[in-house]
């Protein structure tokens, strides 16, 4: 289980939601939130260290790219 904390002022909530949906096929993801962040608890469905590393890494990139694609944060 790996917890990723996406701060609201750095990541768009919509982008994080879409990321959780997009990676549901390769990981079990539980979502929680507080005032400053959305946290995804990610349990990859693959267990080899290289696979886990890749799933977590790609998930991070996906959330970041989606956030940036949304344009300037105001």
């Amino acid at each position: 289980m790996i917890e990723l904390r996406f701060h609201r002022d750095l990541y768009s909530a919509k982008a994080v939601e879409e990321t959780a949906e997009a990676f549901a096929a390769v990981a079990s993801i539980e979502r929680s939130e507080d005032e400053s962040a959305i946290t995804l608890a990610v349990e990859p469905r693959y267990t080899k260290p290289a696979q886990v590393r890749r799933i977590i890494g790609e998930l991070q990139n996906y959330a970041l790219a989606k956030t940036i694609d949304e344009g300037p944060r105001r």
């Binding site: 750095l10 890749r54 977590i56 970041l64 344009g71």
Partner: protein, 168 residues
């Protein structure tokens, strides 16, 4: 890593390097700009350890990179970050000139729409993509901002080490 600045921490076992920057010097838009161009070779994660600091984690896609690779990575990222921050400032200062040249270049090259082009035209008033904020008005860019909710600030301190994606 040896001879590294205080704001840089390498995690060789993860093939990652953390770089902490002051967001009052490097605006978020510049950090996005620099981070984005590294996602083809790195996994990039942004984290806010405190109100006055922002941490960028670059983890190479290739496992077990050499220390030299990480050193080069953080150096290149720092250069790109500075470049992005300055470019944002220049873009704001020269906005009108850049906008005028861009409009002239595109309208000169595109010309008037044909009937086929008009048939495909999107007449909706949805926002178009404007990653550099070129189309924003002066008021949108520089106008008075809505004051922050006072509750936002202290919540940052609640960040936990588990939240950094470093440990399983």
């Amino acid at each position: 890593m040896t001879d590294t600045p205080e704001n840089v921490k390498a995690e060789l076992s993860r093939g990652a390097v953390n770089l902490e920057v002051d967001p009052s010097i490097y605006p978020l838009g510049a950090i996005y700009g620099a981070a984005y161009i590294f996602i083809d070779r790195c996994y990039v994660f942004l984290y806010r350890p405190s109100e006055t600091s922002l941490r960028i984690t670059l983890q190479t896609k290739e496992p077990e990179p050499a220390e030299e690779t990480l050193r080069a990575l953080v150096g290149e990222f720092s250069n790109e970050l500075l470049s992005c921050a300055w470019r944002r400032q220049i873009t704001e200062e020269n906005r009108e000139l850049i906008q005028a040249v861009t409009s002239k270049a595109l309208s000169g090259a595109m010309g008037s729409p044909s009937l086929d082009d008009l048939a495909d035209f999107d007449f909706s008033d949805d926002e178009f993509e404007d990653p550099l904020g070129i189309a924003q008005s002066w008021e949108e860019k520089h106008g008075r901002k809505t004051p922050k909710e006072p509750a936002e600030a202290p919540a940052e301190a609640a960040a936990t080490p588990e939240g950094e994606g470093a440990d399983s």
